[in-house]
């Protein structure tokens, strides 16, 4: 048997459960619920100003979360990469361990901290101050996003910084660069592929999340993911929810692909983040 035939079972699987389902999204987005005839009605419904506002909020919150993840993650990755092998290995593992807990449990954990009776408020009241409204705020949603996806920012940057030869830095120092210049002219530019993959690994899931916003943001802060969920689960197939939901999914897919296209232009080395 020729070796390339080994890929046949997977190819069939892929066509049925990866490629065809994608085409189905397009089909539902561009056909009417009742008659299955081509229409742009769903797309028009998905571009409703109210929905666009939600999209704007999702992009905004995802951007904030990504920026915070970068501002915290880069220094962590940098410090870890400068440590001795054993210490760095242990510390980087410590940053990964929480990621292995169930995603919903990680989000739930913040409910116990931010709750009106939660730990932070207990501290606040024991200091004689008034209770803070922490849950059901945009801040809570952003904290949840940062907490869940920070390791995805640290890892790719750490991987690339760790592999960077020390001789690069030494050469820059020999040529008279000070510490700041070494970082801005040599280290940071060389770590860009890691930064880019970190940004995509944080931005894409945060822009599409719906559990975080539901659990930490209550119902006030609907995100694009919530909108899609409502279309599919609450409104349902019979009321055209599948069609509008498919259209919303298409818009989100286009947005994500655009982001990836922009970031891929920087990421020439194709340095993906590894989880293990």
């Amino acid at each position: 048997m020729k070796r390339k035939y080994y890929a046949i079972p997977y190819t069939v699987w892929m066509l049925v459960l990866i490629v065809a389902p994608m085409l189905l999204i397009l089909y539902y987005a561009f056909t009417g619920q009742a008659d299955g005839v081509f229409t742009l009605e769903n797309i028009r419904a998905a571009l409703d100003p109210l929905y666009l506002k939600v999209l704007g909020r999702s992009v905004w919150l995802a951007l904030i979360a990504t920026v915070i993840c970068f501002a915290l993650g880069y220094p962590i990755a940098y410090i870890l990469s400068r440590m001795s092998g054993r210490k760095a290995a242990i510390l980087s593992m410590l940053f990964i361990v929480p990621m292995w807990m169930n995603f919903l449990l990680r989000t739930y954990a913040w409910m116990t901290l931010l709750d009106t009776n939660g730990l932070i408020n207990q501290l606040v009241t024991s200091l004689g101050m008034k209770r803070l409204q922490l849950m059901n705020t945009q801040g809570a949603v952003v904290v949840g996003m940062v907490y869940n996806y920070l390791p995805f920012m640290i890892l790719p940057i750490y991987n690339i910084l760790q592999k960077m030869p020390r001789s690069n830095i030494e050469a820059a120092q020999d040529l008279g660069a000070n510490g700041f210049q070494v970082f801005t002219r040599v280290v940071f530019p060389l770590s860009l592929p890691g930064v880019i993959s970190g940004i995509t690994m944080v931005f894409v899931p945060t822009i599409t999340t719906f559990a975080i916003s539901r659990l930490l943001g209550g119902s006030q802060f609907m995100l694009y993911g919530d909108l899609i969920e409502t279309q599919f689960i609450s409104i349902g197939q019979a009321n055209g929810g599948w069609n509008v939901g498919a259209a919303l999914s298409c818009i989100m897919m286009v947005l994500v692909l655009l982001c990836m296209a922009v970031t891929n232009r920087f990421d020439k080395g194709g340095e993906g983040g590894t989880l293990l």
Binding site: M1, Y5, Y10, M22, L24, M101, F103, Y108, M260, L276
Partner: protein, 281 residues
């Protein structure tokens, strides 16, 4: 800034970030031992939420579903993904890049889109709702990760050994099993582990694709939307300990094989020998 101050600042920052990562989990675990139902007061140490957890049929059922889907889907994905990678590796460039771009779809697509697309397909094919859908969905999003971790290992293997085996009279499938497979084993294993953990962790794809069977994520989502529940705390504590032990064992096992570890062992032994020699003198 002096070097010492800078070093202290670095340590402070790392410690602060570790607190950020672990505080929620520790608080969660701490309150799982709380006698009282609310977090407002500490009612004393108690294991009653653990007892309640073990008695909760729904949670146990969800746990069973999650574990069995994780095991079955990662096994199936490993077999399918490894054979696929072997096939893809020997393809011509055009068909290979065609297959790989489809393979990358679930990786780059938002989970939500993957989940929704599978929901459409399952209802079109009238796949029975619940467990079957959940399992098929998990196999589907796991295969690409297995392929992506096996393919690089395949690229590193040289065809020379394989051809040598054929020259010595091995059949192609025998040579594949005895020559290629051992060489790509690390890739297969890390793919399998990755698939297993992705399956355990998944919420979004399951949420849309399954309709019926509840895995742990879906169950926790439903429960947590109604507010804080000490049973979830107990569950988190158990899961955290299990994950931590698993991770530590895997890492210690992996560490034992690594060159660095061997070298460290050798150094330690040498130092011990020197010490003994000095004492003897």
């Amino acid at each position: 800034m002096s070097k010492k101050k800078y070093g202290a600042l670095k340590t402070f920052f790392i410690v602060l970030m570790l607190i950020f990562m672990y505080a929620p989990i520790i608080v969660l675990i701490f309150y799982s031992f709380n006698e009282s139902r609310t977090m407002a007061n500490w009612g004393g140490f108690s294991l009653k939420w653990y007892a309640a957890l073990l008695k909760d049929r729904d949670i146990m059922e969800a746990l069973k579903v999650t574990l069995s889907v994780a095991v079955l889907s990662s096994l199936a994905a490993t077999v399918l993904g490894t054979t696929a990678a072997i096939g893809i590796n020997s393809m011509k460039k055009r068909s290979r890049s065609l297959i790989m771009s489809a393979t990358n779809l679930p990786v780059i697509n938002p989970d939500l889109v993957t989940g929704v697309s599978l929901m459409f397909m399952f209802s079109l094919l009238a796949v029975p709702q619940g467990y079957t859908r959940l399992l098929l969905a998990h196999i589907t999003f796991n295969i690409p990760y297995v392929i992506l971790s096996v393919l690089p290992k395949l690229r590193q293997t040289s065809d020379l050994y394989y051809e040598a085996a054929l020259d010595l009279g091995a059949t192609p499938s025998y040579a594949l099993r005895k020559v290629i497979l051992p060489q790509i084993m690390p890739g297969i294993l890390s793919g399998a582990i990755l698939a297993f953990t992705l399956s355990l962790d998944d919420f979004v794809v399951s949420f849309f694709a399954q309709q019926g069977a509840q895995n742990l994520s879906i169950y926790i989502y439903a429960l947590a939307r109604r507010g804080i529940n000490p049973k979830i705390n107990a569950l988190s504590a158990i899961l955290f300990v299990v994950v931590l032990t698993l991770l530590l064992t895997v890492n210690l096992m992996g560490g034992r094989d690594s060159e660095e570890y061997k070298q460290a062992r050798r150094l330690k032994a040498e130092r011990k020998a020197q010490k003994r020699a000095r004492k003897a003198r």
